[in-house]
Subunit: 337 residues, 2 copies
DNA sequence: CTTGGCACTCGGGAACACAGAGTGCCAGGC
DNA sequence: GCCTGGCACTCTGTGTTCCCGAGTGCCAAG
């Protein structure tokens, strides 16, 4: 029932609507795309497409606009991801290569993605889960306080100030540090709780309360930061676009870590390029917006996700190309450091 | 020429305009504030105030609106900072006290301030300049790479990956680490370059190239991060307000670190509560917005600044109270950690 | 199945009128 | 000399009406 020409019509509608932001009528379609048929025929096709829910008209006697279902079909079957130009690739590469630490990588990535897509970019910090302990450092701040620093092989640094239950001199701290490092070095973060479990037995009784305090902080920092930090950039790009839902709602959603998390994530397959269109996304405050996201990470391990958020009426092929490319380059950068 | 009653009229105009967002006329003024005179008299006063540039009318036969100069006079002489309720104070205190590290402090602060003022909040990370070295850590990542970590007494952690000019075994790294820590411990960051200058001489010749590389990274991390990180929150609060300038411009300015920097800073006296009204601010893209900012920091040392940005038409007494209070509490928190 | 023709619908812009708020000015009163 | 009530004038914003044009659905013919 949905033959090739109807699909071509749908594709043409999506493309025209994306570029003009106005409902597109049968005559305009016949003019701009050489479909080889008359406007009347296109009208018939459009009637069928509307019947099946792929397009809709804002009001009687206006042109047609793609529905979420229409965009979905377009993304799945009618378009292919558009690769970036080689100039763009080089620009990305050199921009990301300048990053000095993990914060810088994330910051640069999110800005880059925002600029590239002219949408709002969202980047999740690399998860700790797949990292391994590189080093543990204990730095005395005062008699009863010390700073606990955990460095992972992904270049991330976790820090906590620990209040001690008792006075600990430099020597005891040094001993504890040595024990921790021998025990944990190279250990995957998921394995830390196991390794840590029997540590107290290997210490002298008087050190145990001290160790227990520090270990509890260590464990806490692992689970607590499990749901990660997320940053966004490019909010200015929202100013032009008009959403069916208010701009305010979108901005509010962007500042809610939890919401962002759900938008990006919730996919079993981290590596796939996923597209959530309009009502498909899990947050009712974001009707009228789509999310294009991809996983990134070094090697086989997907560390986290990144993506962009924009109006449902976006240029999916280009956006998907940009997201995929940035995800790949970030992965490279992280693998190299 | 500008007698008390005229000042009272100006104050009334500012207050009414802030609360209603509509040009205020003589009759409304006479009704809502008991100034003890008739609308006609108020009209005369308004004519004088307009003559002197404190107020203006958007169009003939519309009410009056304060000019930037009018707000300035209001802030300087006609208002006093409104302290927060004790309930608000308690809420601030407990919210900030939950922070686990410096990132968390900044994040919580900016969100708190945004929520409290219903404006966009901006917080600058504590500067390194006034901090002292607490500890330097060198963590080998591979034969030719190591991670350099600098921990300061303000709880901030700087990290860099360093590419080495030659293979460095564990022992050499340990030696270097020891030398660095003995030399730098407790040293103010501004004093680091001096202390570091004669370090190479105190090392064996074969260690010098290695040391030089690491030291150059160290020094670089000090100056490079001198212009600091800035974060903002509460962009959603902009959605309601309408600026004379477009919303897009405001959002763009917010994402430009450099611009934000200039908005907050550029005051010799870090500690003062400063207000920049409309055209007073140094960035032309932000006509129609005001900035209320204050310094914060532990003890005598002002570490950085924080503030809010909103439409010129804002409730200055309340906003100033909130900014001042938050700055104080953050200072307390930082002093305690 | 496609095509041209045709009547119908509806949104958006232009033209217009009108009410309401606010002003400036003037003459009279304290 | 300053304050006050009165009055004529000037705007903006809003509501109304009207009309044009784009676009549709349907139908009969190729």
């Amino acid at each position: 029932m949905v033959d090739d020409r109807k699909l071509a019509v749908l594709r043409a509608i999506v493309e025209d609507y994306v570029s003009t932001n106005e409902p597109v009528g049968s005559k305009a379609l016949a003019d701009r795309h050489n479909l080889g048929v008359s406007p009347a025929t296109i009208r018939n096709d459009m009637a069928v497409l509307e019947e099946q829910g792929y397009i809709a008209q804002p009001h009687t006697s206006a042109g047609r606009v793609p529905t979420d279902k229409g965009y979905r079909l377009f993304v799945d079957r009618l378009s292919q991801v558009k690769p970036l130009s080689s100039a763009e690739r080089r620009a990305i590469e050199s921009f990301l290569a300048g990053a000095v630490d993990i914060d810088d990588v994330v910051m640069r990535t999110v800005r880059l993605l925002a600029q590239l897509t002219r949408q709002v970019a969202v980047v999740q910090y690399p998860t700790l889960t797949n990292s391994a302990v590189r080093h543990v450092e204990l730095v005395p701040l005062s008699e009863r306080r010390l700073m606990f620093v955990l460095i992972t092989n992904t270049g991330r640094v976790e820090q906590r100030v620990v209040e001690l239950p008792e006075v600990a001199d430099e020597q005891r701290v040094a001993h504890l540090r040595a024990v921790l490092n021998t025990s944990l070095d190279g250990c995957g973060l998921s394995g830390v709780p196991d390794r840590v479990a029997d540590l107290p037995e290997r210490l002298s009784p008087e050190d145990r309360p001290l160790a227990a305090t520090i270990l509890s902080v260590l464990l806490e920092s692992l689970v607590e930061r499990h749901d990660e930090k997320i940053v966004f950039a490019g909010a200015a790009n929202l100013a032009g676009a008009d959403f069916t839902v208010g701009l305010r709602d979108v901005l509010e959603a962007l500042e809610e870590q939890v919401v962002l998390m759900r938008l990006l994530g919730e996919t079993s397959d981290l590596s796939a390029l996923t597209v959530r269109i309009g009502s498909e996304n899990p947050y009712t405050g974001l009707q009228g917006t789509s999310i294009v996201a991809a996983g990134y990470g070094s090697g086989d391990k997907q560390l986290a996700r990144l993506g962009v958020l924009g109006p449902t009426r976006m240029d999916y092929p280009v956006t998907m190309g940009a997201v995929r490319a940035v995800a790949r380059y970030v992965s490279q950068i992280l693998a190299a450091s």
